[in-house]
């Protein structure tokens, strides 16, 4: 087999793998295998000298001596490289080692192939089991790649914000699943649920008043009133253990005192408004749990 034939066989292998992948694997897994093969192919292409003499005359009985316990070849995916047992099976018709074994090669050609195989670390053992953890890992990696791609392709949402704002934003966006424990508050109420209910009512009222006040104070660019309102709401937020809103209120108080950046305050206000309904639902759920 000359180098051109070898590449032609690789094409066959690639096609077979392509069909196989989409039949048996998920698109992400198939893509992973395809990438692996492409990388392997490039590696082979780089190893074969461009101006290698056409090797047509080869001894008839030359056989490539590769470890052939199972008389099969596999292509290792990146995951398989991490987990040696996670090897991807190829269809019988595409067994690489068989192609090579049956091809009459010269000593020089064999040296090439052996060095290619050694460099590519092709395992010659086939495993028909595709270990589940590796499959999950593939999916995870695929998700990770998609996520990274989306990050790369998206314009920076907070490009015009300061670093601290971006940090705050990520912190705020994480707070989707809010859990509140009203147990300690109920203890302070000496177990009186009516009082706790009243406190919850006042809490909601205060929060809504705060939202209303803050909107007006921001419109009026009244930093002192913003600071005062934020300061006043804090104790109630702390009492109900609503940490997410408390953090925002603290930041509003600090921002209205120090940098006095209206855009930053508007952003924090928006965070509070966005977060409040989530917290309110969490409080209602926590109260129901107590009942």
């Amino acid at each position: 087999m000359n180098s051109k034939n070898l590449l032609a066989r690789l094409d066959d292998l690639e096609n077979a793998l392509h069909e196989f992948s989409y039949q048996k694997l998920t698109a992400a897994e198939a893509q992973e295998l395809k990438d692996s093969l492409t990388s392997f192919r490039r590696h082979i292409e780089s190893k074969i000298p461009k101006e290698a003499p056409e090797l047509t005359e080869v001894p008839e009985k030359t056989v490539l001596k590769v470890n052939e316990e199972n008389n099969a070849a596999v292509v290792k995916s990146p995951e398989a490289a991490v987990r040696p047992e996670a090897v991807t099976p190829l269809p019988d018709s595409s067994r690489f080692s068989e192609y090579v074994k049956d091809s009459p090669l010269s000593k020089e050609q064999l040296d090439y192939i052996n060095s290619i195989l050694a460099a590519s670390d092709i395992p010659t053992r086939i495993s028909n089991d595709f270990p589940q953890p590796s499959k999950r890992k593939l999916e995870k990696n695929s998700e990770k790649r998609n996520h990274n791609n989306s990050i790369k392709s998206k314009p920076m949402e907070s490009a015009n914000k300061t670093t601290s704002e971006a940090v705050e934003h990520s912190k705020m966006s994480k707070s989707k699943a809010v859990e509140i424990d009203l147990g300690p508050v109920l203890e302070e109420c000496l177990g009186k649920k009516e009082l706790l209910e009243e406190l919850i009512r006042l809490y909601k009222q205060n929060a809504l008043e705060f939202i209303g006040q803050l909107k007006i104070h921001i419109q009026n660019i009244d930093f002192e009133s913003i600071r005062f309102a934020a300061h006043k709401i804090k104790s109630g937020l702390r009492m109900m253990d609503t940490q997410e809103l408390l953090t925002i209120a603290e930041q509003i108080e600090t921002a209205s005192k120090t940098d006095q950046d209206l855009k930053h305050l508007e952003f924090l206000f928006a965070c509070f408004v966005k977060e409040y309904p989530i917290v309110e639902r969490a409080i209602d759920a926590a109260f129901k749990e107590l009942s």
Binding site: E188, C189, L190, K192, L195, E198, L199, L202, Y203, Q205, N206, F228, H231, K232, K234, S235, G236, R238, M239
Partner: protein, 124 residues
């Protein structure tokens, strides 16, 4: 039957005031609520409580001004406990200089407040 001690609670945060009011009443005090400095002044014009518990940051009339008013204008020696939030140490010091007896930090533990109120009253 012993007469209940009169306690003036000056706190504009309704939520905290409700909880403290309940716990102080349960603790055996007759609590009078004031939501801002104006209400405090009006109450003090008609009645003298046994003890005052006041937030340091209130509309119209701060806790510091309240201490000043009680000690210098009314010349009362009744105990005054200041409720302060963390990071307000300077104001707390000012309140002490003007004659505040004690202070308690937010978040206020009602149980702790009850102990502090009892301790201040026992000194009288």
């Amino acid at each position: 039957m012993t007469e209940k001690k009169q306690l003036l609670l000056a706190e504009d945060d309704e939520l905290l005031a409700s909880l403290l009011n309940y716990r102080l009443e349960k603790g055996g005090y007759e609590v009078h609520l004031a939501q801002d400095g104006k209400e405090v002044k009006e109450f003090l014009k008609r009645s003298i409580p046994d003890i005052i518990v006041s937030d340091i940051m209130m509309p119209y009339f701060s806790g510091i001004e309240l201490v000043d008013y009680v000690r210098n204008d009314l010349e009362l020696k009744i105990p005054v406990i200041i409720i302060s939030s963390a990071g307000n140490e300077e104001n707390v010091l000012s309140a002490f200089e003007l004659g505040a007896n004690d202070f308690i930090s937010k978040p206020v533990s009602p149980s702790e407040l009850l102990v502090r109120v009892g301790r201040e009253l026992s000194k009288m």
